[in-house]
Amino acid sequence: MIDVEHLRKVYGSVTAVRDLSFHVPGGEVLGLVGPNGAGKTTTLRALAGIIRPTSGTVRIAGRSLADEPIDAKRQLAFIPDEPQLFDYLTVEEHLRFVARLYNVADAEARLGPLLTEMELDGKRTAFPTELSRGMKQKLATACGLLHDPRVLILDEPLTGLDPAAIRRMKGTIVARARAGAAVILSSHLLTLVEELCTRVLVLQEGAAVALGTIDEIVAERPELAGRPLEDVFLALTGQSEEVGAGDRTPADGGVR
């Protein structure tokens, strides 16, 4: 569903992403993790067609983002960490706007259930500036889901949500993956990654330092067996010395 080959992005003298290749099939949730400045956001933006890669190819549902950008974009939804909404459209009008952009024929039928799923039923006529941070995030998510994308790219999707909404959002992500969507989820919440993601891609200075299930990653680094995911992550990204890792045991929540 998502095919990335030798993706590279250079800003001036800085290489943000270097030679990144991976594949995410339908039904899989890939966790994208890495320290600040590792190139996660640049990677997500390149996958969403926001920025053009310096080199390499990205294919969404079999269509090249460079050669068939419109067809590729019709298949995907990008939900950024900071919801981008229009000041003068109401909640419902945002969805109608998206429906037209993506030519969602049965928009009317989808609109109600989606608003209910996102708990925005009572906010249909509200403007973005009347919504809380969490509600804005829900609206951005609803806009992303309206056209039933085959590829879902989420950047810190739980930011600003309350505990109940976090549970529902996690349910939504899992449900979309079960329905066959390929999902990429970027988050600093390692527990979320561990809970939802079938595989993990760890980035460090723009390059992949690990890719696979957590068990596969640990299997390649036997010294990390039994350590919590946090320690695994810090070790992979070369930060373990800074935080005094190595003191925890499986009883603290270590990786099996």
């Binding site: 800003y11 933006r45 969403a48 067609g49 926001i50 920025i51 053009r52 950008p69 419109i70 067809d71 974009k73 019709r74 995907l76 939804a77 990008f78 950024p80 900071e82 919801p83 981008q84 909404l85 229009f86 000041d87 003068y88 459209l89 109401t90 009008e93 109608r96 706007f97 998206v98 429906a99 037209r100 952009l101 993506y102 030519n103 969602v104 024929a105 928009a107 009317e108 006529t125 403007f127 973005p128 500036t129 009347e130 941070r133 804005k136 600003g160």
Partner: protein, 579 residues
């Protein structure tokens, strides 16, 4: 106190310096270098070139009656600020300023001082522009060097008055009767000034009415000489007097009074800080919502919500199927209809236009020439300046480039929809004005053109305007796409008349470019009209307009193709959002 002011100055100066350096770093791109060279050439030819002495554009801005006109313009602006309210940008803080300054151990008065320090950057830059514009005007030699001081006093007073009026209105809104009492003196003073000027107009109004623009100007001059109006206008004329002083002696006599008025404004503003924090937060939230609502935080301002709530009754249908780019047009039209600023201005202008047209229709013998002159000037301004005023296109949306990029819409179609957004609203406004004029002239004895011929002119105008507006929108959107790092994008805009120098330069450049783009369409239209004139008479105008529009459409197609490619190449990091 000094430490806080020092911190404010450091923040302002360092921010300005860094911003300037960042703009300079853009020169690594060849297109920015080209733009800079063209701009320098333009400045040299229009503003500095000694060979053009006496012919700089500023020459028309000074001269007999200019001082009175400037004073009256100031009265009109002050009235607008007091009655309708400014857009509160005078009070608005950037989100980072709210985050750092409001919780800091800083008094409200010091925050006001920060705004004043901040405004000085813009004022000083515009003084430079105006000094160049006016250097060929009245007064030479040493007066040229004194003019910047005059302009500094003038613009600073403008800015202080706007800030004071905004604070006073905010105080009234927040404290009700108590606010009225606090701001009562200022409101009363404005009421007396307006009353005196109105009384002067009544006293000077000729029994025969006003039939021409010249008679209207004479009426204004006579009204200003009436004792009550003369007294009322005194402070306004005193503020503008140094800028128009013909010699050093007059300047020395005028600058002291103007400076005293500025000082009085400063004291008034610094003391009128009772409602500052809330009003500033509200203004900041409004601006934040306008510029970058998605950055989060802040509740919608009451006033903004009220405006949006009122406008939300307007429903524009949008089918789920069809050309996706239409959704962009739909969204941008909502942005205009629900925009607080546009709604207020539209109401203000529509009321005046309808009143003028109704009056002209009912009293054709007394008014038509003069009033139609005003409406014609207004229509021309809409065509020429409208594209600068309406920014519901890429100039407003480019700050959301990341979001736009995710849409499954080809870049050239997306840019076309963005351009069409402002052109559509502008065309509707122009046609409405044209229709008003047409109706008002139905009974005018001054218009000798037969009714069918007038209809031909109206039809030709209706056919030509969309193409003109689209070309104009193409220029402004093209500039936004080509120089996103130099142009302030987003919902923000220049804060007031003190920034008019920049607006003036932008207007001249865009008009020159529009003239170049219209050259070929006008030529084709003229040839078509000439060829058909013998057969169809004045009715050759509509087909001529169609022919010209067809050529303009060809130009637009080329522009769109090019801008579409530019849109795809523009990096989100290159976009400079208005603060």
């Amino acid at each position: 106190m000094t430490a806080v002011l020092g911190a404010f100055t450091y923040l302002t100066v360092t921010s300005a310096r860094n911003r300037f350096l960042r703009q300079v770093r853009r020169l690594r791109s060849p297109r920015y270098v080209l733009a800079l060279l063209l701009a320098l050439g333009y400045f040299w030819l229009i503003l500095i070139n000694p060979a053009r002495s006496g012919s700089a554009p500023g020459h028309v801005l000074v001269g007999e009656g200019a001082e009175l006109a400037a004073a009256l313009a100031l009265v009109a602006l002050a009235t607008y600020w007091w009655i309708v309210g400014s857009d509160q940008s005078a009070l608005a803080f950037a989100p980072a300023e709210v985050q750092f300054l409001f919780p800091a151990p800083v008094t409200r008065r010091q925050l006001v001082q920060f705004k004043l320090v901040r405004a000085q950057v813009l004022i000083l830059f515009n003084i430079l522009i105006w000094s160049l514009l006016l250097r060929r005007g009245a007064g030479e030699g040493v007066l040229t060097w004194l003019r910047p001081i005059s302009l500094w006093v003038l613009f600073s007073t403008f800015q202080l008055h706007r800030l004071g009026a905004t604070l006073a209105r905010a105080s009234v809104a927040e404290h009700g009767e108590a606010g009225v009492r606090r701001s009562g003196l200022a409101v009363a003073v404005m009421a007396v000034i307006l009353g005196a000027i109105a009384w002067g107009l009544v006293r000077a109004w000729p029994a025969t009415g006003v039939a021409s623009l010249q008679e209207a100007l004479q009426l204004v001059e006579r009204a200003a000489e009436q004792p009550a109006a003369a007294w009322a206008l005194l402070p306004f004329r005193a503020v503008v007097a140094p800028a128009f002083a013909p010699d050093v002696e007059t300047w020395l006599g005028a600058i002291g009074v103007a400076a005293a008025i500025m000082l009085a404004h400063f004291v008034w503003v610094v003391r009128a800080d009772t409602a500052f924090e809330d009003a500033a937060l509200e203004a900041s939230a409004e601006r934040a919502a306008r510029v970058a609502a998605w950055r989060g935080g802040g509740r919608m301002a009451r006033r903004n919500r009220a405006a949006a709530g009122m406008a939300s009754r307007w429903r524009l249908p949008l089918a789920a199927g069809g050309e996706p780019a239409v959704a962009i047009l739909w969204k941008n039209t909502y942005a205009v209809l629900r925009g607080d600023r546009f709604g207020r201005q539209l109401f203000f202008f529509a009321a005046i236009v309808v009143a003028i047209c109704a009056f002209a229709y009912l009293e054709p013998a007394r008014t038509s020439g003069f009033l139609m002159g005003i409406l014609a000037a207004w229509g021309s301004m809409l065509v020429l300046l409208g594209p600068l005023w309406l920014r519901n296109d890429l100039r407003g949306d480019l700050s959301r480039l990341e979001l736009l990029r995710t849409y499954p819409v080809p870049a050239s179609r997306l840019v076309a929809a963005e351009m069409a957004s402002s052109a559509l609203v502008l065309t509707v406004l122009e046609l409405a004005l044209g229709l008003c004029v047409f109706v008002a002239l139905l009974r005018s004895p001054d218009v000798t053109l037969p009714l069918p011929d007038r209809l031909a002119v109206l039809t030709a105008g209706a056919l030509a305007l969309p193409a003109i507006n689209l070309l104009s929108a193409g220029l402004h959107n093209g500039a936004a796409l080509l120089f996103p790092g130099w142009l302030a994008l987003g919902g923000g805009r220049r804060p007031g008349i003190e920034a008019m120098g920049q607006t003036y330069l932008t207007m001249i450049v865009s008009l020159l470019l529009l003239a170049v783009l219209l050259l070929f369409p006008v030529l084709v239209a003229a040839i078509t009209g000439f060829a058909l004139r013998g057969t169809y008479g004045i009715w050759s105008l509509p087909p001529a307009a169609v022919a010209g529009s067809a050529v303009a459409a060809g130009e637009l197609a080329l522009i769109l193709r090019w801008l579409g490619r530019q849109f795809e190449r523009t990096e989100p990091a290159d976009v400079e959002t208005a603060a």
